[in-house]
C-alpha cells in the first residue's frame, strides 16, 4: 500500500485530498505544518509527500530542504497557491519532484503521484 503524507495548513484541503486518495487505495496521513510533517515522516515513512509552501511553524521550502536531507528517497510534490517564478525555481533546485499550483486538477495530481510511485518501484 502506498503511503501519502499531505501537508497543508488548510484542513479542508487535507480532507478532500484524503477522501480522494483513500478512495483510490492510498494510505493518507495529514500534517498542518512543516514541523509536524517532519515528525510524521519519521513515524510513518511515506513514499510521497504533497507539500504546501505557506504554512505556520516552518514553511514548505524549509521543510523541503529538511526532507531531502533526512529522507532523500521520498518524493516531494509541491502543491501551492504561490506561483512566482523565483519560488518555482528555488523549489526545483532544492530537489522538489514537481510543482503544482492551486487550484489543482485532481486527475493530473493523481497521474503525477502514480508516475512517481512507478519510478520508485523501477529504481528498486
Amino acid at each position: 500500500m502506498v503511503k501519502l503524507l499531505v501537508v497543508d495548513d488548510e484542513s479542508e484541503i487535507c480532507e478532500f485530498l484524503r477522501s480522494f486518495f483513500e478512495e483510490r487505495d492510498y494510505t493518507v496521513h495529514v500534517a498542518h505544518s512543516g514541523k509536524q510533517a517532519l515528525e510524521e515522516l519519521k513515524k510513518i515513512n511515506p513514499q510521497i509527500v504533497l507539500l504546501d509552501i505557506k504554512m505556520p511553524d516552518m514553511d514548505g521550502v524549509q521543510a523541503l530542504k529538511e526532507i531531502k536531507l533526512q529522507h532523500p528517497r521520498v518524493k516531494v510534490i509541491m502543491v501551492t497557491a504561490i506561483e512566482t517564478r523565483d519560488k518555482i525555481e528555488e523549489c526545483l533546485r532544492l530537489g522538489a519532484d514537481n510543482y503544482i499550483t492551486k487550484p489543482l486538477s485532481l486527475e493530473y495530481l493523481e497521474t503525477d503521484v502514480r508516475e512517481k510511485i512507478e519510478s520508485i518501484s523501477k529504481a528498486k
Binding site: 488548510e10 484541503i13 478532500f16 480522494f20 497557491a81 514537481n98 510543482y99 492551486k102 487550484p103 486527475e107
Partner: protein, 505 residues
C-alpha cells in the same frame, strides 16, 4: 588736474585775444583808453565767463585719451555691469553678459569666461565672444594644468607677452599654447575665498596692441568684484543639478514602490483567493471523480462541472493579474503580431458594438521575428484598443499599425483614434497607476502597458491635440526580442514551461 588745464587754456586764449585787439585798437584807431587797467580786468572777466564752458569741453576732447579716456569709459560700463550681475543667478546668462560686454563695449577681439565644473572636476569655457561655439565648448582644462597652476599661484592678470621674460622657455611654450587655445593675450584669474573659480580670457584687438597697465589693474578689480557673483551662480547651478537628480530618483522610487505595492497585493490576493477556490473546486472534483458516479443524476454532474470550470476561471483572473505585476513572463516565443491584432479586434467586437467605428488594421507582413510573452502583447493591444474604442465613443476611426523601423532597429506599434484627445492637464498623470477618467475604469491599462513595454526595453509615448484624437506610439528594440540563447538557463526555462502548461488544467 582738469581744472588747472582749463584755467591755463583760458588765460592763454584771453592773452592772445587781448594782444590782438590791443594792437588793432591802439594802432589803428588810437583808442589809448583800451590799455587802462580796469578795461583789461573787465575784458578778462567777460571773456572767462563766456568761454569757460566751450574751453572746458575742448580740453576734455583734446586730453581725454591721456588722462581718463578709455579707461574711464570702461570703468563706467564695467562697474555698471558688476552691479547688474549681482541679481543674475543663472551661470550661463551671467557668462554671456560678461563676455558680450567685454566684446562690445571694451572692444576686445575675443573674450571668454572659464569656470570650474565640480561634476567633471575641470575648468570649462562656458561662454565666449568672438570664438565659435564648436571651438570654445571643447576647451577643458584639468585642475593640474600648468596654466591653471600659474593662475592659482600668481593670482594677478597674466599677459602672453610677458611669459617669455618671466619663465623658462619650455614652460613659457606650454602656457603660450593654452593662450592660443583660448585665443587670448591676457588671462585674468577669478578668485573667491582663495579658490580659483575661473578665469576671464581676453584677446586684444590686434597683435601689436596689448593691454595697458591701467586696464589690467582695472580688469583685475573687475574680476575680484564679480567673483562672488560667479561663485554663487556656480552653487545655484550645482543645486539645480542636484535637485533635478533628486527629482528623477524620486519619480523612479514612486513608480517602483507603487509597483511593488501592487505586486505584493496581487501575490497576497492570489494566494488568499486560490486556497478557498482549491477547496471549492477540490470538493467538487472529489464528487465528480467518484468511482460510483451512477448515483448522481445528470443535473448534479453538470453543476459540479460548472463549479470546477468557474473556479478555474476565477483563478485565471488572479493569475493574469499576477503575471502583469511580476517582472517576467514565463513564455518566450515569436510574437504573432497580426494574429494578436485580429484577435483583439474580434474579442472587443463581442462586447462592444463597433458598427460605426472604422477599424483600420495594418501589420507589416515582413516584421522581423520578435520573441516575448504573447499574452503580454495581447494585453498591450487589448489595453490600447479598448482605450481607443472608449475615446471615439459611438463613431469614429481607429488605426492599428505595426511596422519595422529600420533606422531605430525597432518594431513600432501605433494605435490612433479620432476621439476628443487628451486634455493637457491629464498628460503627466496618464501612466500613473489607478489614474482614470472613467467611472468604470481601473486606471491600470496604460500603467500595465507601460510596465510591459519597459520590460522589453521599449519606449511608449502619447501624442494628442484637442479635437484631433490621440495616438499611442510604442517602440520595441529588436535587441530585446531575441530568442533565448542555448544553454543551461533554457533547460530550467523549458522545465517551467512544461510545468506551466500541465499544472493548470
Amino acid at each position: 588736474m582738469k581744472r588747472i588745464l582749463v584755467i591755463l587754456f583760458l588765460s592763454l586764449f584771453a592773452a592772445l585775444l587781448y594782444f590782438t585787439l590791443d594792437s588793432l585798437f591802439v594802432s589803428a584807431f588810437g583808442w589809448k583808453w583800451f590799455r587802462t587797467q580796469w578795461v583789461q580786468l573787465i575784458f578778462m572777466m567777460a571773456f572767462a565767463g563766456a568761454m569757460f564752458k566751450p574751453v572746458d569741453h575742448l580740453v576734455f576732447l583734446l586730453f581725454k585719451g591721456i588722462f581718463f579716456g578709455r579707461h574711464d569709459q570702461h570703468f563706467v560700463v564695467l562697474s555698471k555691469l558688476a552691479r547688474e550681475l549681482v541679481s543674475v543667478m543663472d551661470l550661463q546668462e551671467l557668462g554671456n553678459l560678461v563676455v558680450n560686454t567685454f566684446g562690445e563695449s571694451v572692444h576686445v577681439r575675443t573674450a571668454s569666461l572659464m569656470v570650474f565644473q565640480k561634476n567633471d572636476q575641470n575648468y570649462q569655457v562656458i561662454s565666449a565672444y568672438g570664438i565659435h561655439p564648436t571651438i570654445y565648448k571643447k576647451i577643458q582644462f584639468a585642475v593640474d594644468r600648468p596654466i591653471i597652476d600659474s593662475m592659482r599661484t600668481y593670482t594677478m592678470p597674466i599677459l602672453r607677452d610677458q611669459l617669455r621674460k618671466l619663465l623658462p622657455w619650455q614652460e613659457a611654450n606650454q602656457l603660450t599654447n593654452d593662450f592660443e587655445l583660448l585665443q587670448a593675450s591676457c588671462i585674468i584669474p577669478i578668485i573667491c575665498e582663495d579658490q580659483l573659480i575661473g578665469s576671464l580670457n581676453l584677446g586684444a584687438r590686434s597683435a601689436s596692441k596689448t593691454f595697458r597697465e591701467n586696464d589690467l589693474r582695472f580688469f583685475h578689480e573687475f574680476a575680484s568684484e564679480i567673483a562672488p557673483t560667479i561663485r554663487n551662480a556656480i552653487m545655484v547651478e550645482e543645486l539645480r543639478r542636484a535637485n533635478e537628480e533628486l527629482k528623477q530618483v524620486q519619480t523612479e522610487l514612486i513608480q517602483t514602490t507603487k509597483l511593488s505595492a501592487i505586486e505584493q497585493l496581487a501575490t497576497g490576493l492570489a494566494h488568499e483567493i486560490h486556497n478557498p477556490l482549491t477547496i471549492i473546486s477540490g470538493k467538487a472534483q472529489v464528487l465528480l471523480l467518484k468511482k460510483d458516479k451512477k448515483s448522481y443524476d445528470d443535473k448534479v454532474e453538470e453543476v459540479l462541472k460548472t463549479i470546477v470550470k468557474q473556479t478555474k476561471r476565477a483563478a485565471d483572473i488572479t493569475r493574469k493579474l499576477l503575471m502583469f505585476t511580476q517582472g517576467r513572463g514565463l513564455l518566450h516565443e515569436p510574437i504573432p503580431f497580426e494574429t494578436i491584432v485580429n484577435d483583439t479586434v474580434a474579442l472587443v467586437s463581442y462586447q462592444t458594438a463597433l458598427d460605426d467605428i472604422r477599424v483600420a488594421k495594418q501589420v507589416d507582413r515582413n516584421l522581423p521575428p520578435f520573441y516575448g510573452n504573447p499574452s503580454a502583447f495581447r494585453e498591450i493591444f487589448l489595453n490600447l484598443f479598448l482605450n481607443a474604442v472608449q475615446a471615439v465613443g459611438k463613431s469614429g476611426i481607429i488605426q492599428i499599425n505595426a511596422r519595422y523601423k529600420q533606422p531605430e532597429q525597432a518594431i513600432e506599434i501605433r494605435v490612433s483614434d479620432s476621439g476628443p484627445g487628451i486634455p493637457e492637464e491629464h498628460m503627466s498623470q496618464i501612466f500613473n497607476p489607478f489614474f482614470t477618467t472613467r467611472p468604470e475604469g481601473t486606471g491600470l491599462g496604460l500603467f500595465v502597458t507601460q510596465q510591459i513595454v519597459h520590460r522589453y526595453q521599449g519606449s511608449i509615448r502619447i501624442e494628442s491635440k484637442a479635437d484631433e484624437g490621440a495616438v499611442v506610439i510604442i517602440q520595441l528594440p529588436l535587441s530585446a526580442g531575441q530568442p533565448m540563447p542555448n544553454g543551461k538557463s533554457e533547460d530550467v526555462f523549458e522545465d517551467n514551461q512544461q510545468l506551466g502548461s500541465i499544472k493548470q488544467f
